[in-house]
């Protein structure tokens, strides 16, 4: 019971923080909307046409890009959560949280889950606005997308947690943008399908195929059409487990102590 009390408290704190920062909600929506309205409109005619699962017929670029932008919202959200962890650690509230008698893994998982919850609000708000632009999915797709978005959000949250365990100072977040967010986003199927990447370079295609973010996007893409992509789910769950174990190791107090002694 106390586990869930802690979970709800952490989610509530994250939610309050999110609601309090209206600009954060706005920027979380504006970012993908700019991609959708400006970038996708410009590329509408430039990209070739091809049919690939889960699509059964030709689609416009705006329709293609939406699942990738949902992933983008979660990616930024996951990284922002990690930023808040660094901030919390600097300000001391993280230390307070970690002194709780509950297991550390549960506290960190709750923290990730809080981030996922916020990202779900952002994604569905974005899907609602996309629908106003005429980009809709089968009604069942919006339902199927929910558990899938939880999975992808957990994976990206765990990645953020892992990164936060290695970042010593808040200023290092710019490095996260350059070396994590941008490569993950651009080297994925968010903007172009794999066959399009292969036209440019087979190496790029391979990198995209091994990027866990690609699989998170494909999982979302299939779900939005009421379909299930088993391989993508395996990739996402495996990546989540790996990131989680690594970040738990990163937040291991013994390791921190050692670091402090040696540092």
């Amino acid at each position: 019971m106390i586990y869930f009390t802690a979970l709800f408290a952490i989610v509530r704190r994250e939610l309050l923080r999110f609601v309090g920062q209206r600009s954060r909600f706005l920027s979380a929506l504006v970012r993908p909307l700019i991609w959708l309205v400006v970038f996708a409109a410009g590329f509408r005619a430039a990209l070739g046409l091809s049919i690939m699962p889960p699509y059964q017929t030709y689609i416009t670029y705006e329709v293609y890009i939406v699942p990738g932008l949902c992933g983008m919202i979660q990616l930024f959200n996951g990284m922002q959560s990690s930023l808040s962890l660094v901030y919390d650690r600097e300000m001391g509230s993280m230390r307070l949280l970690l002194t709780s008698p509950l297991p550390r893994w549960w506290l960190l998982l709750s923290k990730i889950f809080a981030g996922v919850f916020v990202s779900l609000l952002q994604v569905y708000a974005f899907l609602g606005i996309a629908a106003l632009f005429g980009i809709t999915f089968p009604p069942i797709g919006y339902v199927f997308a929910l558990p899938v978005l939880v999975c992808s959000g957990l994976m990206l949250g765990a990645l953020g947690l892992l990164l936060s365990s290695t970042i010593k100072q808040l200023e290092n977040f710019a490095g996260v943008m350059n070396f994590v967010i941008f490569p993950m986003f651009f080297l994925s199927t968010a903007l172009y399908p794999l066959w399009k990447m292969a036209e440019g370079s087979p190496l790029l295609r391979d990198i995209c195929a091994y990027n866990p973010f690609t699989h998170a996007i494909e999982l979302i893409r299939f779900a939005l059409y009421g379909q299930f992509n088993g391989m993508a789910l395996i990739w996402v769950v495996t990546s989540f487990v790996v990131f989680m174990i690594a970040s738990l190791w990163g937040y291991n107090p013994a390791k921190t102590m050692t670091n402090r002694k040696t540092g």
Partner: protein, 318 residues
């Protein structure tokens, strides 16, 4: 999308029928089963098959084998070529008169329209028309046949009683296709380079309206109206816009464009199923056929066929 398809499958009584598609580069016909939306048969034809139509009782199929200079008559059950009709050179499109007997064929290279009696297999008339005739139509009462000529940019009005032209009307550049409305009061002609559809009053052959198209993000030059179909209920006209890869939906009462539906590359001609709930478009360059849900005005599926599909015709199997 799947659910829309499933819903359409459950609601429509007319499935199990077929759409026959000519593949210009493969010299074949792909037969699509409407129920499963898959190609079930591929039938060999003469060279460069384009125009395709069934006899009124669906007992035989006529195909313009352009490079074989013949109209081929095919048994749709066996897929065997029964015989050729004397068509004149390079037949591209044709139309079967409501009497189920006279076939009006456009001979692109010879600037003539050939009228063939399908029973006697003889040419009964050859009518001089403009240069590069292509689009063919016949009025529902069978009194008027139309040939459009690509280079002369005209619709030629033929009196089917004496097989002579009684009027010529100018249309925009490179007319491709012509159709009468169901009541025969209007003639619609598409102009590929002109990018328009001209609507004429049948009674006095005067131009009544002109329909223009504009698709956001697509250059005007790529918007080339070619084949089109009007629904029997008078609710919609669907216009294939060639290399723009879109099909326009037009309200035939107001002539306003209601919507644009993305299909495959270089969409050319189209055919409805029996109750007109589904529309099948041939996409030449992408080598496939897109399926449009008429009530939803959305593309729901795409079916791979042969190379450069061109014409399409519906055939009931029950």
């Amino acid at each position: 999308m799947r659910f829309t398809l499933l819903f359409a499958l459950l609601c429509s009584p007319a499935f199990g029928d077929e759409i026959w598609v000519t593949n210009e580069k493969d010299d074949t016909i792909s037969v699509i089963d409407i129920e499963t939306q898959t190609v079930t048969r591929t039938i060999e034809t003469g060279q460069r098959p384009r125009g395709i139509t069934f006899s009124k009782d669906f007992s035989v199929l006529y195909v313009c084998a352009s490079d074989s200079d013949a109209v081929q008559v095919i048994d749709p059950n066996t897929g065997k070529i029964l015989h050729d009709l004397p068509s004149g050179e390079d037949p591209e499109q044709f139309v079967l008169h409501p009497n189920n007997k006279h076939l009006y064929i456009a001979n692109e290279d010879d600037a003539i329209t050939t009228v063939v009696d399908t029973d006697t297999r003889r040419v009964i008339a050859q009518i001089d028309v403009g240069i590069e005739p292509e689009g063919m139509a016949v009025s529902p009462d069978g009194k008027i046949a139309i040939t459009t000529s690509e280079t002369t940019n005209m619709a030629h009005w033929i009196d089917t009683e004496n097989q002579t032209i009684f009027a010529n009307t100018l249309v925009d550049q490179r007319p491709r296709h012509a159709e009468f409305t169901k009541d025969g009061s209007e003639l619609w002609v598409s102009a590929e380079i002109g990018g328009t559809i001209s609507v004429f009053n049948t009674a006095d052959q005067t131009e009544k309206a002109k329909i223009n198209f504009e698709i956001q993000g697509v250059h005007r030059d790529r918007i080339q109206p070619v084949g089109f179909k009007l629904t029997d209920d008078g609710k919609y006209a669907f216009v294939a816009l060639g290399p723009s890869n879109y099909v326009a939906v037009v309200d035939p009462n107001t002539y306003a464009v209601l919507d644009y539906i993305l299909v495959g590359r270089r969409v050319w001609h189209m055919a409805f199923n029996a109750d007109e709930s589904l529309l099948f478009t041939t996409n030449g360059v992408s080598g496939d056929v897109s399926v449009i849900d008429v009530s939803e005005l959305t593309a729901i599926n795409t079916i791979k066929v042969g190379r450069f599909p061109w014409g399409a015709a519906y055939r009931p199997t029950k």
